[in-house]
Each structure stands twice: as structure tokens, then as C-alpha cells.
Symmetry: C2
Subunit: 231 residues, 2 copies
Amino acid sequence: MELRAVCLLSGGVDSSTAAAVARDRGYVLYAITFDYGQRHRRELEAARAVARALGAKQHIVMSFDMRALGGSSLTSDMELPLNRSEEERAAEIPSTYVPARNTIFLSFALAYAETVGAEAIFIGANQVDYSGYPDCREEYLKAFEHMANLGTKAGATGRVRFRIEAPLLHLSKAEIIRLGIDLGLDYGLTWSCYAGGPKACGRCDSCLIRLEGFRKAGAADPLEYESIESM
Amino acid sequence: MELRAVCLLSGGVDSSTAAAVARDRGYVLYAITFDYGQRHRRELEAARAVARALGAKQHIVMSFDMRALGGSSLTSDMELPLNRSEEERAAEIPSTYVPARNTIFLSFALAYAETVGAEAIFIGANQVDYSGYPDCREEYLKAFEHMANLGTKAGATGRVRFRIEAPLLHLSKAEIIRLGIDLGLDYGLTWSCYAGGPKACGRCDSCLIRLEGFRKAGAADPLEYESIESM
């Protein structure tokens, strides 16, 4: 029987690598991307390109407006934190935290999985460089999985046991990038910058983490940047 | 300090009654309604009317298109089951089941609660007349609550302990209706019919359950119906 996986695909390094892992494990991919009013809509184009490159069988984009809920600099006009050191980034959950974002994303992924008959849901969450987001921790993901199997027809009737697969959970950014390169993923298709300009800004948390990752992986980032601060 | 509750408000009997309970317990209400491509959009108007009648401080409508995911007669052109007996309705999870619907709804409610500083999320779920939906069971709701406190900034840092409040969980439809009447809720503002005509159809599962509930509660349903089958 065909193995199917729903892949949460933002178009960034982590989700694209997680999807590449799913493909490598033999799954037929059903990619899902969210257009939720984020500043970095360039992500959506990246997600389309990555889904195509990975040969996804289907790619859907769910649209909703998280701005109606407020609460994050990523979806509002609050100022983005720029040029923060690793210590500053680690000190607190940043303003780019979007309330319950992974819970919302995983919930749609679960609905999609139940609909297309997928047992696995791949997410690029990782605890190591996770920017302090509580919804990237293993304990949380296990709790979601448990809830998912109670709250769905397929799970509750025992026809399916849904699994949340987070293959990057314990990898550093550099290890993730090495893994993706080994799997033949073209990181030139991906997008990480929060700022949403024509080139990556090189200064937001997401660019800084990505650039550090490539540096530590000993690889060149194929993306163009506006400016790269000395680190 | 002001007690705040997010209320999932569909505009039907159960969610409206649950919101009335929240108000009765002294909460300031933040109502959230979903426009998800359901057939019965008349619900949305009902939700607005109920939120107003209960003096909700805020009412937001989140829009997204569940039809992109497929899988339910409630959001697609599959035929609605009509005139089914209580036994037929109990026999299986019906085609009106929408994959992971309450999980999606509760996820948005959780994001909203974290944003407005609410600890309680009220949902009209009940196990007794629950139409066979797995995501209306206590075990599921507890699992969601656990996950919610791990996956949010407010929960993970211990600033808040989110609670999923399902005050109707163990009540029959008749008991729910009696409770709402006691709390002064005007059920003429609510809407239950799945079919989405100008009057309630009186034949879909939702109408049948509502009508039975009013009959057993010994109360008159203030709504107008197209036809009421003898039961």
C-alpha cells in the first residue's frame, strides 16, 4: 500500500528538509502551506517551488487571517527584532511567536491527513535552534499526537494511528542543512527571511540562524542577502 | 481581575447555551465564530445575534475554506442524510463529520485566548447527543487542554493555565434547552439546520435532534420550520 504523508511546508529550511526526509523514507507527499497574513509572503512561492521539486502529489494552501487575532510581530505592525545575538535570542520567547501557530497548522494538517488517508504528518520543528517557541518541543508534539488520535474519526475508530513526525527535532541548524544537502535538496528554492523584501535581509532572527547554520555546516547559502552582519 | 472567556459560538443551541453559562459565571465574553465553507451560513448571522444578546465584549469571525480539504457532506456536495431515526443516527459517525473540526476550532480559540488574556475556552460539546463525533468526548477535550498548556507561551511559562470548559458535556439536549431557558437565552436567535434554507428544514439530523430536545424539555421551539416529520 502507498504510504502517504502530509508535510507542513512553509518554504523555509526546516520544513523543506523535513519534507525531503519524508520523500526519502518513501512517502507520497501531500504538502500543506498556510497563507495566514505573515509578513514574509515570499515563503508561499518558496513552498510551491519546493513542493514541485520534491514531486509532491498534491499541494494545498490554506488561507486565513491570523491578524484578526493579533499578538505577534510576524503578523502585525509591531517592530521586528533585528541583529540580536545568540544570547539575546535565547533569553526569551520572541515577539515573532504567533499564538498557538503550530497547533493551528497541525490541526489543518490532521484534517488533511484524515481526508487523504495519510498516517504521518511531517513537521520541521526542532528543539535545538527553536527560537524559544514552546510549540516546537517534543513533549508538545507528543501531546498533539495523543489528542489527534482521540479527536478524529480515523483515530478514534482505530482505523489509523496518526503520527507526528519531527525528524529534525534534535538536530542543529547545521546538521539540518547537511542532511538536506545529502538528500539533494536545493536550498536556493527555500526562503527564511521574516522581513519580506526582494532579497533576504540578513539581519532578522531567521536570517541570522540560517546564516549561522550554513557557516557551521561548511556550506554556501545559495540565497542572495541584502547585508550580512559580521557575527 | 476581570475574568475572560473565549466562547466558540456557532449560533446553534449548544454553543449559544455554553456561552450563556460563561456569562452567568461572570466571564467577559470573547466570541469566535468560523466561516469555513459550511452549507449553513445562516449560522453566522445567528452567532452575531447571540453574541450581541449576551453582551460579548468582542466577536471575531475567522474565515477559511475547509472545502479545500474535502471529506464531509457539510462542506461539499455530498448528499445530506435526511429523516434518519435515532438508531440510524447513533449507528455510525455521520458524513456530516468534518475532519478534525473541533481541533481546528479550539486551536484558533486558543490563539485568541492567549492574545486577549483569557484562561477559559467554552465549547458546547456534549457526549450525550453528540451525533457520534469523536471530538466531542471528554477524553479528547482533556487531551486538547493538556496540549494547549504545553504549546503556548502563556501555558508553557506558567503564566496561565488554559481550561477547556464544556459545561454541557453530560447534559441531554432537553437539559441543555432547559438550562438556556433558565438563563434567559432566546433560542429564536439561534440556528441549527444543516440545509441552509430560509426556514429550518425539520428533517436533517440537526433539526431532528433540536426538535426532540424541545419536545422532551416541554418547551416550544421559537423557530419556524418548513416541515416537521412525525417522530
